[in-house]
Point group: C2
């Protein structure tokens, strides 16, 4: 069947019946969410277990079950590998992983897939695991990719059941209260796991810093936690900023950041109380910095900036240019420190941030958002998951949630990466539909979605370089070199959920190249 944006979607994927994407705000379930598992506790109890193996035994973790993790340590995580190694030692097989995201540090999972320990993955797969899965024939069912808000929603709705949630906690007490902003290796908020902790049949907190009761803030509450295991190491915070989080030095990207800032300033949204979110890419970071300077110049104070928390955002708070930061994950250690020290740097969980099945998300309060993409197309559809070689290399993150929420969503991209085109006739994979994208900013000009004539007029009045996306594409296409086009097989290796649980696209096996 074809979904609302014309993507061919099977009616059944693996063991699930598929609801096709029907529009960004089309579904409204009238039924109830899943009920949490009843838990009780005796008056006094020791929740401390001596090892991961002991936790596997105590929770009854066995073949075919689902285990979950958060990604707050990003590429510095040491928990997922340790847990899977322990599962391997216990001879388990056929596990389903439900991480929020996997990173290159988790490349060892490839071996666990080959050995049969891991047979399914639902979660973002940044880098090697995604590339491996793209080869096809690796998992027993297609992977499922969800946005931050979509994952929260799916767990609450009962779309996916967690048997054991393993939660890396930089600091925890023996009764299970835990936080990510304190301890020996603070990584920032860990409330991505709050929904896991509440809905899992069993919840295990893993910490390298067992502190006296009570540990606070209670991002993870004792009442949700069955067991606590102390590990020598849970993660390396120096790696949370790895990957995309470097302020760009590329003149092209700095130009795009400047044009993005100009567009915001002339959008009509740039007034007192203005709110915004940038992604973690170099362009977004630069745009955040430029935007702060413009706010200062104009005497505007923003209501809030939203994170991933970064040094750039914290500086805006400290300069009094925004009244608050709403932060679900730290992208650098300056952000972690600021959460501890600045009352106005407020931790929020992904439910508040982005849950479609709620009475309103923080993303819905955004005036402007600037986000990245691997590809865009002439319908303004955005791909952040696959590259044009067809390989599944990135997760969704909050892309869908922010794009759907912000009054003005801007995609900030160079038209070429090397000499590979970024603007396509049709994106390889649709992550986020064009209907929620307002503006695409490139070094060759600013394209405005035809739905937003109002913005186009404002930009033209401000003499910004507004051009049609077709025109920009044509100009860029003259400079591309022939790329090796993927040949896709029939096998679906991953399903891309829209944030409401419907299916917006699928990713197929890469069989070779033309």
């Amino acid at each position: 069947m074809k979904n609302a944006i014309g993507r061919e979607i099977p009616e059944v994927i693996g063991s699930r019946n598929v609801s096709p994407y029907a529009g960004a705000f089309s579904t409204l379930r009238a039924d109830r969410k899943a009920g949490r598992h009843q838990k009780g506790a005796p008056q006094h109890e020791n929740k401390i277990l001596p090892s991961l193996e002991a936790a596997i035994e105590a929770t009854g973790l066995s073949d075919g079950m689902t285990i979950s993790f958060h990604h707050s340590f990003r590429d510095g995580d040491r928990v997922i590998n340790q847990v899977l190694d322990a599962c391997a030692r216990k001879g388990l097989k056929d596990l389903r992983l439900l991480p929020t995201a996997l990173f290159p540090v988790h490349a060892g999972i490839v071996g666990h897939i080959e050995s049969g320990l891991v047979s399914r993955i639902e979660g973002s797969m940044n880098g090697p695991i995604g590339a491996f899965v793209s080869q096809g024939g690796r998992l027993s069912e297609p992977a499922v990719l969800r946005s931050h808000g979509g994952r929260w929603r799916a767990i609450e709705a009962g779309d996916v059941e967690i048997d054991v949630a393993f939660i890396a906690a930089p600091q925890a007490d023996a009764y299970g209260n835990a936080t990510g902003i304190k301890g020996k290796t603070p990584c920032g908020p860990i409330a991505f796991s709050a929904v896991d902790a509440q809905y899992a049949k069993h919840t295990v907190v893993l910490t390298s810093d067992l502190a006296p009761y009570p540990v606070y803030p209670m991002e993870i509450q004792q009442g949700w936690v069955d067991y606590v295991v102390v590990l020598d190491e849970i993660g390396d915070p120096d790696n949370i900023a790895s990957g995309t989080l470097v302020l760009t030095k590329s003149p092209t990207r700095l130009l795009i950041a400047q044009m993005t800032t100009d567009a915001v300033v002339h959008s009509g949204y740039f007034v007192d109380g203005f709110s915004f979110q940038g992604g973690a890419g170099g362009i977004s970071l630069a745009a955040t910095k430029y935007l702060g300077d413009e706010m200062e110049k104009a005497g505007i104070v923003g209501s809030f900036g939203m994170g991933g928390g970064t040094k750039m955002l914290v500086e805006l708070l400290h300069r009094g240019l925004i009244r608050a930061i709403l932060d679900g994950q730290a992208f650098d250690l300056d952000a972690v420190r600021s959460i501890r020290e600045d009352e106005a740097h407020v931790m929020i969980d992904p439910g508040m941030y982005a849950n479609y099945d709620s009475r309103g998300c923080a993303t819905y309060k955004l005036d402007a958002a600037f986000l990245g993409a691997t590809e865009v197309d002439l319908d303004f559809n955005v791909n952040v998951n696959t590259h044009s070689d067809g390989m599944l290399l990135h997760g969704i993150g909050g892309h869908q949630d922010v794009a759907a929420g912000a009054a003005m969503t801007m995609i900030t991209i160079p038209t070429l990466r090397g000499r590979i085109p970024v603007i396509m006739d049709s994106v390889t994979t649709v992550t986020t539909p064009g209907e929620v994208i307002d503006v695409i900013v490139t070094e060759r000009g600013i394209a405005v979605n035809p739905k937003r004539e109002d913005l186009k007029e404002r930009f033209l009045a401000a003499r910004l370089p507004v051009r049609s996306l077709e025109e920009i594409k044509e100009e860029a296409d003259a400079m591309i070199q022939p790329v090796r086009k993927p040949v896709f097989g029939d096998e679906i290796v991953a399903a891309i959920e829209w944030r409401d649980g419907t299916m917006i696209d699928v990713v197929r096996k890469v069989e070779g190249f033309e």
Copy 2:
């Protein structure tokens, strides 16, 4: 049928089938909790409604439905009366009220019961409403009294469904984020309503201080809130400390406070990391003060004190005698200020505090608790709900939750009030069973539950005045004047739930006096 402590309980009360009390930690439900209602929201939405009447219309509130409230303003609340008056103006009838607690300020509810607007009440009824209900024939079904933790549990379990939650919020933004510790009239934590907000079909925030987005800390989250109504007045914080919250000047009570402190000091629990909770009565407040002095003398630092937050507790934190305060409700304005200013004064919700159906309550981490009573009996059962004239005049509060949780629960009572006895052969109403009571401290001596020979030995070794409860009773009985004994009718006016949802006792109509 008789329950585990020998109280006669009917199998059916009103429209509910009764599970008899079976022991303090006997039930363990293996099933699931209730699912929350699915809610959705468009991208941009105005949740502000112009009036309570508009909120009644928008939520579809109609005859026979259930509405809920918190009691954080205590006797200063202005919301319940305004909402009920609006319901009366809309011609509604047969509503069920689910407040956390009612106070004398809500005496006007008597008129609403008489008019048929209110026909059922589940919640604490301090003072006039309880007295009125005690007369019998007033409500269409017996009232239900639950502890703080019991109410949270009941809502999560689906024992009681809320149609519309009305939440008094000292500060809120237009999207529904709300807190009790800021604004024009801060009253302290309002997270008693967090479970209402999450489980109600509709949630309405009522505020007298609409502040710019985002209001934080988000005790109530936007994603749970359907509508926001601005009212001129929601409550008077000067009245949160009314009633019991006065440091006693009575020599008898000060003596009891001193003996309580002595008992704690010699209990074996009085070591570094010690934790405790006092109630809101004069003896408890004095004992908290004395205990702080003993901690200072002994060089002991406690792990946490638990609230109701009071000036006494805050002083201990400021003197460095406890590392943290865990606080679910403020009993005075010093506590409210401290929550705003002291990072270690941590707000917790009643779920974390006391939910039986969780993997451990904060009350389970208590070493010592000193609580009040209207009556105790020779089985160490405690009554906090009725007086010996049979009248239902008080709620349960956290009494059951704390008594069940603390390693050493002490009831601190004078043996006589005026010349009315406090120690009975059998309490008029069992609120909290003797099995979770360890020590009863009176001005005539300290009685130790026979289950706690260990404590008795320690107290005797410290030459504390340990006596049997029978002996103390006999001595006190010599001084009583004849009291008018109530004559109870058959009608059950209220059911007293144990914190796990089983029935520990019932309160019957007072028909007259002997």
